[in-house]
Symmetry: C2
Subunit: 320 residues, 2 copies
């Protein structure tokens, strides 16, 4: 019997919510990270697992790039909460053939990127595994000037923005992307962001998630969605339009966020962002659903990104 990831997570959420509430847990399952309150600043915790054959092809990219990507994915989640990355905890299941040099490369890939974002490795677990390389990175973040930004704060009338062009990450950017940590902090501290998440599973899927969490609808303007060169390149190869790639490919790791439209001009004039950020639509009432508008009018936008399926044979790995 096959099992979709979203179905399993919903089941877990129900099972967990049947338990008594835990003091100090401000936000649990369902956002990019949980928010914990131990009496000082809010602490964000997020976890992301990288598996050889699903998230990377180790034989092609090597151990250092795999380590880098594992750290980058978790950094992207912390970025999406608009807080400062803090400490990392890394569990590694190493295949039997892993050499000392491989292990060192993996760790260097992890800590070089961590260091650049002010993060220290503070713990972990290492084991030999009969299976593929698995690297599970738990990352904490700390509230700086403002509390963490959730997915659930979007309001009808908000503008919807992204931090950069989308599509075709499988051609290479999924290994080299720079997590939008500084952007997330600045958006939170200077631009009164209402809701934010990172685009890991494709704009169409992740926009649905934001709308579901905020109980709103959205209109996406097809001619405003910024496209990467890679989206065009893939389009030439497979005949799907660059826009389709931007909507559904996933692994962009740009931030998707909403702000009050009165802030649009200030954001557009913020020199740090001017070159990359793009307004792509607006938030509507829930009843209007999630729509894509273009020259031909409006149509419903289905979630077309990536979702894991367990136990069936039907899903394909996203990369390559």
């Amino acid at each position: 019997m096959s099992l979709r990831e979203s179905e399993l997570i919903a089941w877990i959420k129900d099972a967990v919510e049947a338990s008594p509430a835990v003091p100090g847990l401000r936000v649990g399952i369902g956002d990019d990270g949980a928010v914990l309150d131990a009496g000082g600043r809010d602490v964000v915790v997020t976890v992301d697992m990288l598996i050889d054959g699903i998230d990377v092809v180790l034989a092609e990219c090597g151990f250092r790039a795999a380590g880098r990507k594992a750290m980058a994915k978790s950094l992207s989640d912390v970025a999406a909460m608009g807080v400062e990355p803090w400490t990392a905890f890394v569990s590694m299941a190493l295949p039997p053939a892993t050499t000392r040099e491989d292990a060192h490369e993996l760790v260097l890939g992890l800590i070089e990127l961590a260091r650049r974002h002010g993060v220290t490795l503070a713990g972990g677990d290492t084991k030999r595994s009969p299976g593929p390389l698995i690297v599970d990175v738990t990352l904490t973040g700390r509230e700086r000037a403002r509390p963490p930004v959730l997915r659930s704060g979007a309001l009808a009338g908000d503008s919807i923005w992204v931090t950069g062009p989308l599509g075709g990450a499988a051609l290479g950017r999924h290994l080299t992307f720079e997590p939008r940590v500084l952007e997330g902090l600045r958006l939170n501290e200077r631009h009164q962001v209402h809701a934010m998440l990172d685009l890991s599973d494709g704009l169409s899927t992740d926009l649905h998630r934001l709308c579901d969490a905020s109980d709103v609808g959205a209109v996406l303007e097809s001619d405003r969605v910024p496209l990467t060169e890679a989206a065009f390149e893939l389009s030439e190869r497979d005949g799907r339009s660059p826009l389709e790639h931007a909507l559904h490919d996933g692994e962009d790791y740009e931030l998707l966020f909403t702000i009050d439209p009165h802030g649009d001009a200030a954001l557009a004039n913020d020199l740090v962002f001017a070159a990359q950020c793009r307004r792509v639509g607006r938030v509507t009432e829930r009843a209007a659903g999630v729509r894509l508008v273009g020259l031909d009018g409006a149509e419903p936008l289905a979630a077309g990104g990536f979702e894991h399926t367990f136990g069936g044979g039907g899903d394909a790995a996203r990369n390559p």
Copy 2:
């Protein structure tokens, strides 16, 4: 080229310590958990990875027991810091054949034990994996009345205690043990524990770890080491003495701790503990090393517990 786990961790520790210190990280790699200070109570973070074929044999124990053990191992680490378990983050790599029922059983095993210890599942990651079942549990804990207990606080002259009998966990207790959460809290809050860790890799190995962290030596009294029935049962099967099993088997998940000897009587008279806790030796100066004393005199005690080796064929999984 083979690579020992301790060697890899030492390498990582060196690489990490070359980075600038991160504010608010009080204790990093090297203890049962890290200690974070976000301006309120101390927060402990620990992570432990369970792999089918290494930590459990899924085909024999089933998904629920595997989930239970994954949570129990991390709870034991938090117990060893003498703090209150708080929130859990669980990454699961599920083999292709995993059914919906399997996944539910796994999660139930995790959350039933979590709930009993006041812990809520606050996040995680779920993926299909071409390899074995892997469950990686990150657990946070909160300081309650007193700060976390480290491995590094043992003083020459301290008494060394354990919270229960040891040996032969592979016969079944490795799946059913109750993490010593209440014991760890009570030891921290009522008995001024100087140093503490949980016995995961065998008394001989873990005592060396405590001594290394505290820069002390130790004398273990062989006739005081409490033995399980399972240690005797295994002894009859394989001819090794019950004491050897208690010293080297691992996976006992009892707590090993040191206190000022003036507290021995109070601890022995603490009704909550009287039946289980046992004084097993004393802390000495570093130069004396780690020794085992019995009727035949004293001899050096080598670390004989379990350690993972990567890339070689030499290590055996601990269970069974």
